[in-house]
């Protein structure tokens, strides 16, 4: 299986990422992707910006371990995970997870699994700024529940 993990400040191109997954192996039958964006609203507050900080080294290790787990559970052909850090604004892309496999069920499930684990295990933190205030987000109970379903 081909894999790629990157924590970066630069934006990414979904087209380039899916092309990598598509051309890596000729037996690819399906590619599932998830792209997370900066929303304009959170709990009815208009968001002006989002600052993302991470633990360099550990984040990449955690993501590699999440992909290892996915690879044990599904037959995957390729996985690409990109997470941006730094200062972002509404509509900016934050995260990309792309998974290719022979059959669609496998790539759908693995893509969702990786996102659910990334949300609860990757050492990345968001600080949200609205006109009123600027604060570090709290972990969501709902994210923990999603991860524990697997």
């Amino acid at each position: 299986m081909k894999r790629f993990v990157s924590i970066q400040t630069e934006d990414f191109s979904i087209e380039l990422e899916t092309n990598q997954l598509r051309t890596a192996t000729p037996e690819v039958g399906g590619i599932a992707t998830f792209t997370g964006l900066v929303s304009d609203l959170n709990r009815d507050q208009k968001i002006e910006s989002l600052l993302l900080e991470h633990y360099p080294g550990m984040t990449e290790k955690q993501l590699e371990q999440i992909i290892d787990q996915a690879q044990l559970r599904w037959n995957l052909l390729g996985v690409r995970v990109i997470h941006r850090v730094g200062l972002l604004h509404p509509r900016d892309q934050i995260v990309f997870v792309g998974v290719s496999s022979r059959h669609r069920k496998e790539c759908f499930e693995a893509c969702q699994f990786i996102m659910d684990y990334l949300k609860t295990q990757a050492t990345i933190w968001k600080k949200e700024s609205s006109q009123e205030k600027s604060e570090w987000l709290s972990a969501r109970e709902s994210d923990r529940i999603e991860q524990q379903k697997w």
């Binding site: 900080e53 633990y55 550990m58 990345i124 933190w125 972990a139 969501r140």
Partner: protein, 83 residues
Amino acid sequence: MQVLYFASIREQFDIEGEQIECTADTANVQALIDFLCEIHGEPWGKVLGDPNLLVSVNQELASLDAPLSASDEIAFFPPVTGG
């Protein structure tokens, strides 16, 4: 030992990390926390006493009784919120 702070914890302490000498006083994570609170005073006590605090040793999540040695990298951070 290299001690690192991230996100809200880094902001509250206003430092990204510090070098701490490994002694009998810092034999495990809980001992290190007690030592840091002693040398710094507040807000260390309040922040490192938070039950949601996460700790890693050499970039792997660790518990409070994890043993520490001189070459270790220890990090303190809040629950993650990426994605």
